[in-house]
Symmetry: C2
Subunit: 479 residues, 2 copies
């Protein structure tokens, strides 16, 4: 109790920052600099959350506390305004939030040169067609706006997705599919259904930030598995699982986010074998398999799954219209039934109109569209890569991705990426700092650049502006 | 271990049904009757989940098990098809789902006479206006479909809602509001952020099924507080809180769902006082306050809240276009910030187009529209009530609601509502069985009828068809 009060006192004085279950870390010195990653204008920022180079240490584990008492202090901040003081009781109100990165790194950005989001520029998306479908629906079937859809998703859309998946080696029926509000919700539903405090979740290092946040939010013990050019190191995974059996394995096997790496066919098979032997689930998150530049990627893990071990997620939002928030989750047996129950409690089902607006495009035009999109994205990626090759300072390394939307740049590991980030944002340039792609250990010498988020010329200008900043950051560390 | 195996064996033989953390209950005899509430055609139903009159008992507590091992057996069912046998491993795959009622009682229904959903018939909704707004947006700002919105919700819509809330005594700024995909998601975000295993959540008995499911899913200890004609019995709540301090209090104070009861002003004040003294949160779920029939309801609890104890939720879906899934959550201080983080991890934000499609209507026409809607709903309610008065068998009781969408009928308590439900659905009539509105103890002698879900004449025909079934059910018990 005394220690607890002492900590609370330190917190109040802004010297340390505590997060529920995450231990304490030392607050950065107040130097008047606003954290670049903090978009919450008008609110007192939470000190130290960005966590760069200030000696901050936090263990990213969710410590289950005995007795269910969660009223120990948390995230007290320098309270500057009296207006906030009346909410002081809230500081002690316990929560179950992890130290999430997603919401402070991916929100709507005012950056002039946006490289931070793995997204496709609106000019390349079939918005006209989808808009026309929506207009028609609204005119002819206005009642669609009035009904709660089926929790599992519209049957017609699921049937169209069945055809789509069958052509990609996944011969499931509409009864095995569920529509979610983007793949993010799919991951979230899996986590809330099957992952709880202390459950072992294996994932690639690096991995998708949104998935890390979700599993952290469930109190999972996340175990990172290194990758090489053939994807997740299944040999290491096997050894790790020997010590700590997996509850769930999360993977983006194709043009991985953020690294761009594709898992080999042999490893896909071994991964599935491993899941069978441990009677566990694999979440196969597959936003990019249609966006290959040279040759089609290996078959999905789901296509080899006979026993319902794989929950397959395919985002359609990403490639068609992110604002519509439509993804498809394929699963079998009781696993799917439980996910549908979770979906119902979560939001009563995704908006029906949005589901039906993408239906005709997926049914009729998706394949021709993605063929063109692949060519356009490849050309952009190659332009970006050429530009990097010519202008990036020596010591910056990357691999040409075989598909997807991102370049994953490795900087010399003593570069202060937090400082680079701040300088870049002062010039209106955003990128994703690699540390948010890691569970637990928040250090990384990588940055992720999406080459598809802007108009092509804008993207090129942005890269040219970024290069001197990279050089500067690398020189800094020399001194 | 031996006991565990014995249970697993019993499960496999279909004699008992186990649910993770819910204890065991005896499976109903297989009598060939398909459960009426189970929409999952083609899937083996989970035996015993309906839980009527078969001597089923389940404790609705989430027992935190030590050590995190969750692989004990669960929900094994009579596996009829060999095809399902290959998924047998799934039976032992632990989850964190409660015995949810929502998804099996509210899904898209084929009922000819639908009384089960608290919803407004499409003919009464402003779908034309909202549709036109959507069409215009799609034509003029197609890029809206391509962007991830702000996690907190579109600023323009939040500003419109600010005006709306100010006119209702809640003078908050747009920074204090968050847009969610329906109030269901709002409740879910609060629960996932602030409620965990063993936390005490107080709520009215009866209450909204969707909220019960969500809190159960978090492993909360739900404590039901009886109501009278002035709403939740705050005197009893106070006594209960003496013994078990509340983490959160969930209430629908105005035209409560399902009972229709409105909490008095005095109790609202006392409830807020209680929350202050316990430093806890109140979730004020307010879908119906604009739908009053006689006089406006008392001010919201949020309007009296100076210290951020109340999270106020207002569904716009319900009254404008349920299919658009738009609700507003008002909260203050750090509590709101944490909810936004949860929203981000949950789905990256609600679809922007849907948000902007309802904006002009809420800004310009909402008040005139709800004035007309109130009159129309009142007329319907009174028609339904007259019809009941004339044709309902003696012993059925109800109170005229002062607003909202539902009639809450009390039947003599020995009526077998499960049997009534089955007979009604054979005639194409759906209603909500009262037991799903109770946390824990699944017995109830109430049914909820929504008088707004159908065309008026259809509603009247449905009621006339239902009355003889009520009579029959009441005669049954006499024998």
């Amino acid at each position: 109790m005394t220690i607890s009060k002492a900590y609370a006192d330190l917190e109040r004085r802004g010297r340390i920052v505590r997060r529920q279950g995450l231990g304490c870390f030392v607050a950065p010195l107040k130097d008047g600099k606003q954290e670049a990653g903090d978009y919450r204008a008008g609110n007192a920022g939470r000190a130290g959350e960005w966590g760069y180079g200030d000696g901050n240490k936090s263990e990213n584990h969710w410590e289950e506390k005995g007795g269910g008492s969660r009223s120990s202090g948390r995230n007290a901040i320098q309270k500057e305004s009296g207006a906030r003081r009346k909410f002081a009781w809230q500081e002690d109100y316990g929560d179950y939030l992890p130290r999430a990165q997603l919401w402070r790194n991916f929100d709507y950005s005012e950056a002039e040169y946006s490289f931070h989001l793995a997204a496709i520029h609106s000019g390349m998306l079939p918005l006209k067609e989808i808009g026309e479908a929506m207009t028609m629906l609204v005119a002819k079937r206005p009642e669609l706006m009035s009904v709660y859809g089926n929790f599992q998703g519209d049957l017609g859309l699921r049937e169209v997705m069945t055809t789509h998946l069958r052509a990609r080696g996944i011969p499931l029926s509409a009864a095995n599919l569920m529509i979610t509000s983007g793949a993010q919700q799919g991951i979230d539903l899996v986590a809330r259904t099957f992952v709880g405090p202390g459950d072992a979740v294996y994932l690639e290092a690096p991995s998708y930030t949104g998935a890390i946040d979700v599993f952290a939010g469930r109190g999972a013990e996340m175990i990172s598995v290194p990758m090489d050019q053939d994807g997740m190191r299944i040999d290491l995974l096997t050894k790790l699982c020997d010590r700590r059996p997996p509850k769930l394995i999360y993977t983006v096997p194709t043009f991985q986010n953020p690294s761009g790496v594709t898992m080999s066919m042999e490893r896909r098979q071994r991964l599935l074998e491993l899941a069978r032997s441990y009677r566990c689930l694999i979440v196969e998150d597959d936003p990019f398999s249609d966006l290959y530049f040279y040759s089609p990627p290996p078959s999905s893990i789901k296509s080899m799954d006979k026993e319902g071990h794989v929950i397959y997620m395919k985002s359609f939002s990403k490639v068609l219209a992110p604002g519509c928030r439509i993804a498809c989750v394929a699963a079998e047996g009781d696993i799917l039934e439980r996910l549908i129950a979770a979906k119902a409690a979560s939001d009563l089902g995704s908006p029906l109109l949005n589901q039906l607006a993408v239906l005709p495009f997926i049914a009729g035009k998706y394949d021709a569209y993605t063929k063109e999109l692949r060519a356009a994205l490849r050309s952009r990626m190659e332009k970006a890569a050429r530009l990097l090759k010519r202008h990036a300072p020596q010591g910056v390394e990357w691999r040409l991705p075989g598909g997807g939307l991102n370049l994953w740049l490795e900087l010399p590991n003593s570069v202060n990426i937090g400082e680079l980030y701040r300088r870049a944002s002062r010039q209106g340039i955003s990128f994703l700092a690699g540390h948010v792609c890691h569970a637990g250990e928040p250090s990384s010498s990588h940055i992720r650049l999406c080459y598809a988020q802007m108009e092509e010329e804008q993207m090129e200008r942005g890269l040219l502006l970024l290069m001197p900043l990279l050089k500067e950051a690398m020189n800094d560390r020399m001194m």
